[in-house]
């Protein structure tokens, strides 16, 4: 079937009757007067006055000119014969989740990723000449691996570098991007290890699943804690058997070449087990490897852990009331890595709420009531049994429920505050506005309240301390999950004391990436696993590890191969990017030029 990309080109066919008319009425032979015409030919005719209609002379010139005009019309109309010249835009969405890295047991088997590449290569080989492809990797933020609309030769090298590693994510953003790129014409191909739900996929989407059910053993969680008091650390590991049969496993922790711990166990089908190992302090980095027979996914068998750094918080308790001070101290002493010290060196201060502190960004402040110790104010203070309105979004109140708490000694607050906990019109906990420091007011008289005896009190203070600890300069943690953003404070206050040190950069696997130098540094979730170094100029200021922990991606049992065609056929006809100079068009152009030259030669001879 022949399709015309530019039907208007057929208007060139109007040249055919024009050429015929010219040959019909135009006297092509120049007149030459001779004597003795009978000696030249016996076929003569009597010329009459005026132009007369003659029989159309079928000459080579006429044939060549008609052929040139006809072929020119064909070229201008850009014919596409069948699929040979029907260029399409293939938009392929590749499932970038880590499960695509799984590989069935056996030496000659292909991983799901390799099978996807092979499938795509097969599709590309069948594409008509001049077709283009766009490769999109799924993820929380879809990534265009190649494109938009590039030749397959350009996309192939990028496809070879593709290594699926993302944790579980939705495919819709990638599909939406594909639909935007493919527009009205073209095909969308989604290659995954499983077929998505039929009702969730777009109508234009053709789905190919290259996965199959596999057994897998995975490290689903890993932590490394350090006790500064003992100088020892402890590694917690959780291993899950994502298979339908019992499997033996062996865990091995190494610090460099040194084996720090080794564990062996047998896990029942779909079973899970936790492992703990004491590790000495000062190891810095630990590599844990899981070995299991018939394991489908290697990505979740290895974790890199960074030894946590002690980030101690110094707190000063300046509350004059002894019972209140005791209630605060009791909680602070129970918290790890918190030391009680003098106000001048403290990161946070518990002080009377009635006296506002100096505004110091490096020193957080918690004002403990009562707001006024005047007898009249104390008598007028109210005791409240609820209900309490809490701003649950605030991290200070994370886990705070205030069930059964009697809030006593509540007085009006005359400061400019933002309420965090209130009851009716009374503000119970609030953050002070108009100050550079982080300052909270606890509008409470602990001697008249049972808050200090409730579970909410240590939670409240622990939240306060941890918030302060997180705001200390440096990485708050050493180990992150893949897909987790990394945030840390580079410096406190207005001034960057390390500004002269150099450029802030993130190093991983020999690649360096610049980071904006601000007080609060936010590193978007790294897309690779491993150990990352933070450097300020040439100085190493931090190190963290990113590991793959995703129980859903580690579960390969439900994967099945399959195909599902698009429910709506796209009109994959010619597209604007089609190369108009295909070999057929070039051949036609050559024939046109030859016809014109032949016509010129014929006319020259005549």
């Amino acid at each position: 079937m022949i399709q015309l990309a530019n039907p208007w080109g057929l208007l060139a066919l109007l040249a055919l009757p024009a050429i015929l008319a010219i040959h019909m009425y135009h006297r092509r032979f120049l007149p030459l007067e001779v004597a003795g015409l009978h000696l030249w030919t016996s076929q003569t005719r009597q010329s009459l006055a005026g132009r007369r209609r003659e029989k159309l002379p079928i000459t080579w010139s006429l044939i060549f000119e008609l052929a040139a005009a006809l072929l020119l019309a064909v070229v201008l109309s850009e014919p596409h014969v069948g699929g040979l010249n029907q260029a399409v835009h293939l938009v392929a969405v590749l499932d970038n989740s880590a499960s695509m890295s799984a590989k069935p047991p056996g030496r000659d088997t292909l991983s799901f990723r390799d099978a996807a590449v092979k499938e795509l290569e097969g599709r590309a080989a069948k594409l008509p000449r001049g077709s283009v492809v766009t490769l999109i990797l799924s993820g929380h933020r879809p990534v265009m691996l190649a494109g938009p609309a590039v030749p397959w030769s350009e996309a192939k090298p990028r496809l070879d570098q593709w290594q699926p590693i993302s944790p579980r994510h939705a495919f819709e953003p990638a599909w939406d991007l594909a639909l935007q790129l493919v527009e009205a014409a073209g095909r969308i191909l989604f290659i995954s290890d499983h077929l998505p739900s039929d009702k969730d996929t777009p109508e234009k989407l053709e789905c190919v699943a290259v996965g199959r059910g596999l057994d897998n053993m995975a490290i689903s969680d890993a932590r490394w804690t350090f006790d500064a008091s003992t100088g020892k650390g402890q590694v917690f590991l959780r291993v899950q058997n994502r298979s339908r049969r019992p499997l033996n496993l062996e865990l091995q922790g190494r610090a460099g070449e040194r084996v720090v711990f080794r564990r062996s166990a047998a896990l029942a089908e779909e079973g899970a087990s936790s492992f703990e190992a004491d590790v000495p302090g000062g190891l810095g980095k630990l590599s844990v490897e899981l070995v299991s027979e018939g394991d489908g996914l290697a990505l979740d068998n290895r974790v890199e852990l960074i030894e946590p750094r002690v980030r101690a918080v110094t707190a000063a308790v300046e509350v004059p009331d002894a019972s209140s001070a005791r209630a605060v101290r009791k909680v602070l002493e129970a918290l790890t890595d918190v030391q009680i010290g003098e106000q001048a060196a403290a990161h946070l201060v518990f002080a009377p709420a009635g006296t506002l502190p100096e505004s110091n960004p490096r020193r957080w402040w918690a004002g403990i009531g009562p707001m006024s110790r005047a007898s009249g104010d104390l008598e007028a203070a109210k005791d409240i049994a609820g209900p309490y309105l809490c701003d649950k979004r605030h991290p200070l109140l994370d886990g705070v429920v205030l069930a059964g708490v009697v809030w006593g000694g509540v007085q009006p607050i005359e400061y400019d505050v933002t309420p965090l906990v209130s009851s009716g019109e009374l503000v119970l906990i609030a953050r002070l506005n108009g100050t550079r420091a982080v300052e909270y007011v606890f509008n409470i008289d602990l001697s008249r309240s049972n808050l200090a005896d409730s579970p909410d009190w240590p939670i409240l203070l622990a939240n306060f301390v941890e918030l302060r600890r997180e705001s200390l300069p440096g990485l708050p943690r050493g180990n992150y999950r893949l897909g987790e953003d990394v945030r840390f404070r580079l410096f406190e206050g207005d001034g960057d004391t390390s500004a002269a040190a150099g450029q802030l950069s993130l190093l991983h696997n020999g690649k360096s990436k610049s980071i904006a130098r601000t007080s609060l540094v936010e590193i978007p979730a790294p897309e690779e696993i491993g150990v990352f170094d933070l450097k300020d100029g040439e100085n190493l200021i931090g190190r963290f590890a990113v590991n793959f922990f995703d129980a859903e991606e580690s579960d390969l049992r439900g994967l099945v191969p399959g195909r599902r065609s698009a429910s709506v056929k796209t009109t994959a006809s010619s597209i604007a990017l089609d190369d108009p100079y295909s070999w057929a068009i070039l051949a036609l152009l050559a024939v046109i030029i030859a016809a014109i030259l032949a016509d010129w030669l014929v006319l020259k001879r005549t």
Binding site: R27, R28, F29, L30, P31, L32, E33, V34, A35, G36, L37, H38, L39, W40, T41, Q43, T44, R45, Q46, S47, P57, K604, R605, T606
Partner: protein
């Protein structure tokens, strides 16, 4: 045309190659076939009354008592009829053809006149044919070659006043449909000598490749679209050669002379080569 430099030079160089015994003519410088009063002795015969007694050979009478009359070759001044084809065909191929034709006519007339003959140039066209003598040859140059009638048609229609025993010279291209045998027979009848001079233009004698052309007969206005390639030209040349051959064959049969000239060679070359070779001219 008599003042034409080439004609004058040729007239000074050549003379007409007339036959030894022209058929007839007034008393002149050429010997006639009959007896006359020239000094060239021819034969004796017996005196019959009426003979010129000045030619009695008294010596023979003394020896034989028989009156014998000495007969001398008569000297004649031949009439030369120069028939110049003045049809449009003589204008084909440019102006050179008709110019040389006029030169030839003038040269023949001039040479004939120098021999004491009575040249009469007759322009053959549609108009009434009025012989031009030497004194009126000036009209030759002004005469336009616009006739459409061919010499064959004019002769068959008796529109050419031919005299008996005249030397006839026909200058034409002969590129008109005709029967060479009939034409030569007609011209040779009662002519003391007949010369047919065919004058062609250079392209007519040797056409070049011109490609596609609409050939238009300059006289009949008939036309035909032809591609003047090698094959067409070869066919034309074959027919032209056959025409020449027929004219030549019939001329031989009638004791006439046929010569074919190419106007592009010029009068001087034509006189020196072709006309001398054919015996129409000889060095004076």
């Amino acid at each position: 045309m008599l003042n034409d430099l080439e004609v004058q030079r040729a007239a000074d160089t050549y003379q007409l190659g007339l036959p030894k015994s022209p058929a007839a003519g007034r008393s002149g410088e050429l010997l006639g076939r009959g007896t006359g009063s020239s000094l060239e002795f021819q034969e004796y015969r017996q005196y019959v009354p009426g003979d010129d007694i000045r030619h009695l050979d008294w010596g023979a009478y003394a020896r034989s008592d028989t009156l014998m009359v000495r007969l001398f070759r008569e000297e004649i001044s031949p009439r030369t009829e120069i028939l110049l084809d003045a049809s449009r065909s003589m204008t084909s191929g440019g102006a050179l053809k008709q110019h040389v034709a006029r030169q030839l006519a003038a040269l023949f007339a001039l040479l004939s006149g120098r021999l004491g003959g009575r040249p009469a140039v007759m322009l053959l066209d549609d108009r009434e044919c009025v012989p031009l003598g030497l004194d009126s040859l000036g009209r030759l140059e002004a005469h336009a070659f616009v006739g459409r009638a061919t010499p064959a048609e004019l002769l068959s229609d008796h529109r050419v006043p031919l005299k008996r025993r005249a030397v006839r010279i026909l200058i034409s291209d002969f590129l008109f449909p005709h029967d060479p045998a009939a034409l030569v027979r007609r011209l040779a009848t009662e002519a003391s000598a007949l010369w047919l001079v065919q004058l062609l233009s250079g392209w007519e004698a040797a056409p070049t490749l011109l490609g596609g052309r609409r050939l238009v007969d300059i006289e009949t206005a008939l036309e035909s679209d032809l591609v003047l390639d090698r094959g067409t030209i070869d066919a034309y040349l074959q027919r032209l050669s056959a025409l020449k051959h027929e004219l030549l064959r019939n001329c031989r049969r009638a004791h006439a002379v046929f010569v074919s000239l190419v106007a592009d060679r010029g009068l001087v070359s034509l006189c020196r080569d072709e006309l001398c070779s054919a015996g129409i001219l000889r060095i004076a």
